[in-house]
Subunit: 316 residues, 2 copies
């Protein structure tokens, strides 16, 4: 996994996903301080709020950190110039064409990783000049690819399509899963859900508690006529499922979704009206931990799983 650690100067090849409404300066700086790479989630921040979080993150850690920017961000030009002004050195882009901004960032000394859901987009990202790709599978929370390729199938396909440093995402919250994707060719992991459910995450306490009590099968990829999104079971998800089952049109789905629902759900803790997004792996976690505790658990489990696999090939 050394290429990922070297690229960003981090101790562990563990990146914290830059999630909407969860990933402010507290979470990102805690992950960076614990030896991973923390990312601010620009997707849910107006430009001035993002500036504030970058500055606070710098004060809170002397370790590398980055910013995740969804390329369909309405004020994308302003964000990109802000990142350069504020001397952000690491940018993860997602949800859009990596060709548009990679050159701009690279020319200004920024390392760029792009999040993809297919090997086709991985190859496209390499062509666009990115430094690394994140391959994110179907089990991930929130917005997701249309092809529904799972992490187990996606990582080897992306590994074949590019020689760049490869980070696996989706369904990874433990050291065992980290070892599993390493076996598939990944050199690092991006972890969203587990960090969204830490003390330092800016998600609302009610959202965290709901997610820490989910059972298997309590999330589902829906809203496929708009942008496929993994939702948590509840009132809004039931409404979406009912609308989709009766064949609601794109326009009806847009009206049902409305605006600002993910803020309402994740940040304000409105479990009735809000849109709740989390990964499938949530059902493995029951305790609200600090980032430090979560990182310690992940590293520890990785080491134990690694030793167990190394000792026992099973194919003697």
């Amino acid at each position: 996994m050394n290429r990922v650690c070297k690229l960003w100067g981090i101790r562990y090849p563990i990146i914290q996903g830059g999630m909407v409404w969860c990933s402010g300066w507290r979470l990102a700086s805690a992950v960076s301080n614990a030896g991973g790479l923390g990312l601010l989630g620009a997707g849910s921040m107006p430009v001035d709020v993002l500036r504030e979080h970058i500055r606070k993150c710098k004060s809170a850690t002397d370790k590398p950190f980055g910013v995740n920017v969804p390329l369909r961000y309405p004020e994308i030009e302003k964000v990109m110039h802000l990142l350069v002004e504020e001397a952000v050195k690491i940018v993860f882009t997602s949800a859009g064409n990596p060709g548009t901004w990679t050159g701009f960032l690279k020319d200004r000394g920024v390392t760029v990783a792009h999040v993809v859901s297919s090997s086709k987009f991985a190859a496209k990202s390499e062509k666009a000049g990115v430094d690394a790709v994140v391959a994110e599978g179907f089990e991930a929370g929130g917005h997701n690819g249309r092809e529904e390729t799972t992490t187990l199938c996606l990582v080897p396909a992306v590994r074949k399509a590019t020689s760049l440093p490869l980070i696996a995402a989706g369904g990874i919250g433990t050291g065992e899963a980290m070892l599993a994707v390493q076996a598939l060719g990944a050199e690092g992991v991006q972890i969203g859900t587990r960090f969204a459910l830490t003390l330092e995450s800016s998600a609302h306490e009610a959202f965290k508690q709901l997610c820490l009590n989910l059972m298997e099968g309590d999330t589902k990829l829906l809203l496929k006529k708009l942008s496929p999104t993994r939702l948590v079971k509840g009132d809004f998800m039931s409404a979406v499922e009912a609308a989709e089952a009766r064949g609601a049109s794109v326009e009806e789905m847009q009206t049902l979704l409305g605006r600002g629902r993910s803020k309402k759900g994740i940040f304000e803790g409105d479990l009735k009206e809000g849109e709740l997004e989390i990964g499938q792996v949530a059902s493995m976690f029951r305790q609200l931990q600090s980032v430090e505790e979560a990182m310690h658990d992940i590293i520890d489990a990785y080491r134990r799983a690694h030793a167990a696999v190394a000792q026992n090939s099973g194919l003697a």
Copy 2:
């Protein structure tokens, strides 16, 4: 992985999924002869055909082999008695309640594994007295669980829920994936897709060639109002998608599906009218191999991946 090998007296902890229209005596005996565990797929065989395949399989291998029986088989009683009459010693059950037939089989000296798509059903299977469980994720071909839990998320959850020997399935066709699920706690793998696309598989040549040319995203889990099934892109899948998008009722979907479509597609090679089922992992394979070649590749890749992981922890 030794518990799985010991349980069935096999060399490698690799089970060939008992798939409809693919898994006759030629495939099952070839897998058993190559050191894995071959399974006849009873799901697509009338009782007299199944008897013939059991007898031919016995003549073709002196190694252990088994039969996969979907518990919702219309003539389930006849099948169970046939298995005992023909002295079949290994049965994999799926799609139904493991409580109904496990005792009957165990009392007659048969070892039983049950296929599950959730940890709840894994615990239920253990209570029913099965000897092993197969945890099959969302990426698998054909019929699938409603909860859509991927192999990466399912295997650790099932590992927690039961102390029984655990076999991972869904998205596994390579030695790297075999090592990955071992890291998650699996002691063996069940491989469907890759064996469905071998020379010895009884699937139609046209079906095999179609599947050996799929791209990522060319399969999709559909028919969710009936029984969720992973289909291959083509005319029938387009018709299903269109019907589902307009909110077609259960009755309309049943009429659209009709009867005998999977035979038509997989066995008779009617790519227009047939129902085509294969796993997400199909897009990784491009060559029609013999079972022996496929097994050799899997074992070889496993050993290389194992050595690579053992040498490089990445967390030094």
